[in-house]
Symmetry: C2
Subunit: 568 residues, 2 copies
């Protein structure tokens, strides 16, 4: 039976228990359950009573492609509600094979040390590692991988998390030692509040994943993985241009965040497109790469290394959201600038989406010109230097907008919009408003459904958002990447077969989606108890009154339409 490990930061005690009672719960569902059972929803997110749950999904450590994501959950300092952010990398592939389902970090330390938790086949132990204090995520990871070997995986925070800045992310290393980020919701600040700088997962020879029927699982997993690997989208889009394949499409529909969400398309969009990105990486060569995996055995391979003119790596990995928020939303006219900002965010351990929105606000309020890369880099230097201005920016879009007196703050429930303006992709506006996660594209992205539902229309948006939210949440609970969804949504029986053969259950396809449904219900219950009332299921006023060009659209859905997306 998979274990749940508890680490108490006040007394250093580490306890291990099996996951009895939680057998069907993985990833986002498990952290929702633990938080709802054990954490006072009204607690202060950075205080002693919050808990950080690092969980993997039900498929962790199995050969199912893209199935070993790491889910981080806690009450969020950004939204003041429950939050889950999940991420690739190899951490949960190792943990799954070590027979560990989750690590729950509790209470606060009574000293000011930097702690690292080592999880290995031999032992689980907490070490004081003040040599890592305020190191960037890359230096932290490299130092720990040097020590524990390249096959280990590091989960860590950067200086932003240690300083409890609310835009802080959690980094996880991938098989190449590159970093992926559980970026949203400021969960890095929760980890930082607990004095925990990193967790190292060290693999062993033994594989503790238990299968009810291994052959049946492997057969189904292979079928799914093959369908994924051979699909047109994966072969021709994901493996070449990664998630940035949609850049020009979002621009064409007029939903591209541009200059602090004041325009829906960008005159330099071509420069930032997936096609340009791919060609540039191929042309420049050197350390540049496309089609990289971020988890062992992943068929999607959407990661990349973006090199400079000399072939030297600027950043890994460029993805759509980052390019939209740090790029067009800040008026940056080329990918070199975006890659530079992206790398800085990664190194500080900051959410690129939140920081792109934050920078957009700062630029609107005159702290820098839109498109001025050097001025933007200087603003990030303030965060490195931990100045008051740096702390404002590192606390994200809402705080920055409030402090600077900006009336156009693109957030919902305290969290910045992702790369889709709700006025031109209204289904995402519904998700931003209703999801317990705040403005979050991974919580229910309606972009893919634009052929079924008019993105500018005022009907069907609530149902679309709700259905997408539920299905994606199921993937979050199983540990699957949302980009694995095409074959799984097309043939959901595969999901049921994999779960049943793994656990010995007899779940139907409906039962599978019920996992997502139940999880969102738990999250909403937590948020209501935390004081996030339905009156907060609302988008900022400027979306209702300010027309977005080129469509001239405003966010004009009725409350009734929006509320159709509520899961209760």
């Amino acid at each position: 039976m998979p274990e749940i490990v508890r680490v108490n930061m006040r007394n250093g005690q580490i306890t291990r228990q099996d996951n009895k009672g939680y057998e069907l719960l993985g990833g986002r569902a498990l952290s929702a359950r633990i938080l709802l059972d054990e954490v006072d929803p009204t607690c202060e997110p950075l205080g002693a009573f919050n808990k950080l749950v690092v969980a993997n999904g039900l498929f962790a450590g199995t050969p199912a492609s893209s199935g070993s994501r790491t889910s981080i959950g806690a009450k969020s300092p950004l939204t003041n509600g429950i939050k889950e952010a999940n991420v690739g990398g190899n951490f949960s592939w190792i943990l799954g094979r070590l027979g560990i389902r989750a690590i729950v970090v509790e209470d606060l330390p009574q000293d000011d040390h930097s702690y690292v938790l080592i999880v290995s086949p031999d032992e689980i132990k907490l070490e004081v590692r003040d040599d890592l204090k305020y190191l960037g995520t890359y230096d932290t990871t490299n130092k720990l991988l040097e020590q524990y070997g390249n096959r280990a995986s590091v989960l860590c925070i950067g200086p932003a998390g240690e300083r409890m800045l609310k835009a802080s992310s959690v980094a996880v290393s991938d098989p190449q030692g590159e970093l992926k980020f559980a970026a949203r919701g400021g969960l890095g600040a929760v980890m930082g509040s607990k004095g925990l700088k990193a967790i190292v997962a060290v693999g062993g020879k033994e594989n503790k994943v238990e299968y009810h029927d291994r052959d049946a699982f492997v057969t189904a997993a292979r079928k799914y993985t093959t369908a994924l690997a051979t699909s047109d989208k994966v072969k021709n889009v994901n493996q070449k241009v990664g998630t940035n394949g949609i850049f020009l499409a979002v621009n064409a529909m007029g939903a591209l965040p541009t200059r602090n969400f004041s325009q829906g398309s960008f005159e330099y969009a071509e420069n930032l497109s997936g096609e340009t990105m791919y060609e540039t990486i191929v042309k420049r060569g050197g350390e540049g790469r496309t089609g990289m995996t971020c988890m062992n055995g992943c068929a999607i391979k959407c990661s990349n290394i973006y090199p400079d003119e000399n072939g030297k790596k600027i950043c890994s990995t460029l993805q759509y959201e980052n390019i939209a928020l740090l790029g067009s939303n800040c008026g940056m006219t080329n990918l070199d600038d975006v890659a530079r900002l992206n790398h800085i965010c990664n190194d500080l351990g900051l959410d690129t989406i939140e920081m792109g929105a934050t920078l957009g606000i700062a630029m609107e309020m005159g702290l820098a010109e839109f498109g001025d890369i050097e001025a933007a880099v200087k603003l990030f230097q303030e965060i490195y230097d931990n100045t008051p201005l740096g702390r404002v920016l590192g606390n994200g879009a809402h705080v920055t907008g409030e402090v600077l007196g900006c009336r156009r703050i693109p957030v919902a429930k305290g969290q910045a919009f992702a790369g889709y303006d709700p006025r031109a992709l209204k289904g995402n506006g519904v998700t931003y408003a209703i999801s317990p996660m705040g403005a979050d594209h991974t919580a229910g992205n309606c972009f893919g459904a634009r052929n079924e539902v008019d993105p500018l229309g005022t009907t069907q948006q609530g149902d679309l958002s709700r259905n997408t939210q539920i299905k994606i949440t199921t993937l979050d609970c199983l540990g699957l990447c949302m980009f694995a969804r095409p074959p799984l949504f097309a043939e959901p029986e595969l999901l049921a077969t994999m779960v049943n053969s793994l656990l010995g259950t007899e779940l139907s396809v409906d039962d599978i989606w019920q996992i997502g449904y139940d999880t969102i219900k738990m999250e909403r219950e937590f948020n209501l108890a935390a004081g996030i009332s339905p009156a907060q299921d609302k988008l900022p006023e400027f979306l209702y009154t300010e027309k977005l060009e080129p469509t001239g659209s405003v966010f004009d859905l009725s409350e009734e339409e929006i509320n159709k997306a509520i899961v209760e």
Copy 2:
């Protein structure tokens, strides 16, 4: 019939209507009713859909002592709920006699001008006065009084309000041309958001106050005023040491905010006491004065001018809350320093309570040493200079604590505690937690009842807070000062007689208190609709876990006890 004047800042339109339907509503009750009827509770406080209500109480313009306070109401940018702050000064005495019950400021201007509203017997008009832009409250007031005469009264904001900083107050001039402040809740920022720099009330010869039975009113008002003027407390305390008469008593009970609420008593308390203040003012002479009125005909006379060693005015007026928050809470060891900070807050148009709490946090987080007056003045200079740090501080304790990463933030519903630590005066903790006003001593101060209810006890606090809240709210609706309460609470029939003889009603004493009750109910209804759920009726965690010396007390009331104070 008294008029309600509406000013639309978008189109400059001014409309006048009688107060039909609102006859029984004054001050806080009237603004609650107008906001509940006309403002979407989920609106953005600094946006187009909020309204600023400048209302006077039912007794405005009458000879009832201390009965012409000005009430400012709006959705607060600090608490995100409904807010009312009331203030002395001569503004509402003039408005009452002009036959105006309220001015409702609506929408946003479409330009960047500074507007002044002139209200005179001849006309009501809006003027562009860019010469006043970013002037301090004193310069603004002096310039307008020079123009409109010393018998006019100016209601204005300082640069903080114009810059929409959330700790901004609204200033009102008194008969001496000194300023009083409707300080709490950031209502100055709402006024600033609307481009309104000032309102000038110019009196006329005619007195439009309508009495149902003038003689009966005057008889009752005289009886009340005499009782007030001849009471021991007014003669021996208020007129000498003002509200600061309680300083040593609060210190002795261990409830004095000291060094960011980390102690309940201050080793330099003697230096800051009312007695020291009085002796210093008398000894230094010059411009120094005690026993000053802030409204025509007020018997309490608790205002003062505090002079420097050469007799030159540093500040008017020093009051208990300001001395507690800017003094002991910032570790300031003498009144000269407090007066200096107080004057700066007044000039910027900032709430001294909010700023004292803010400075305490900044000091705890290392931006200045406790007690370092020059460092404190430098921090305020950042606000004058509108730097990012200045904007952080000017947005109050909650934002400052969040940005600086402080875990000890003394606020409830986003607003700073007043001068009573809830651990040693638990009734005030209940008021801070439950009142729709957020942490606000004027919303239900339980200090005066310390002989009836043990301030450290865990019972009777809910009922005490509730009853105090209701009665004080009634005074807020009538336009009366809370320091007029002793004779009114002792003989509430006087209140009923005054209201009935004024309006021709037949209200009983119970009906009089019902005014307060109904008002709080409206406010709570607004807040619930605004998304402030009962889960937010809570105090910060450090009060529950950190013992306050010298009593060693924590805030340990049960939820049940706290919730007894809810008016619903």
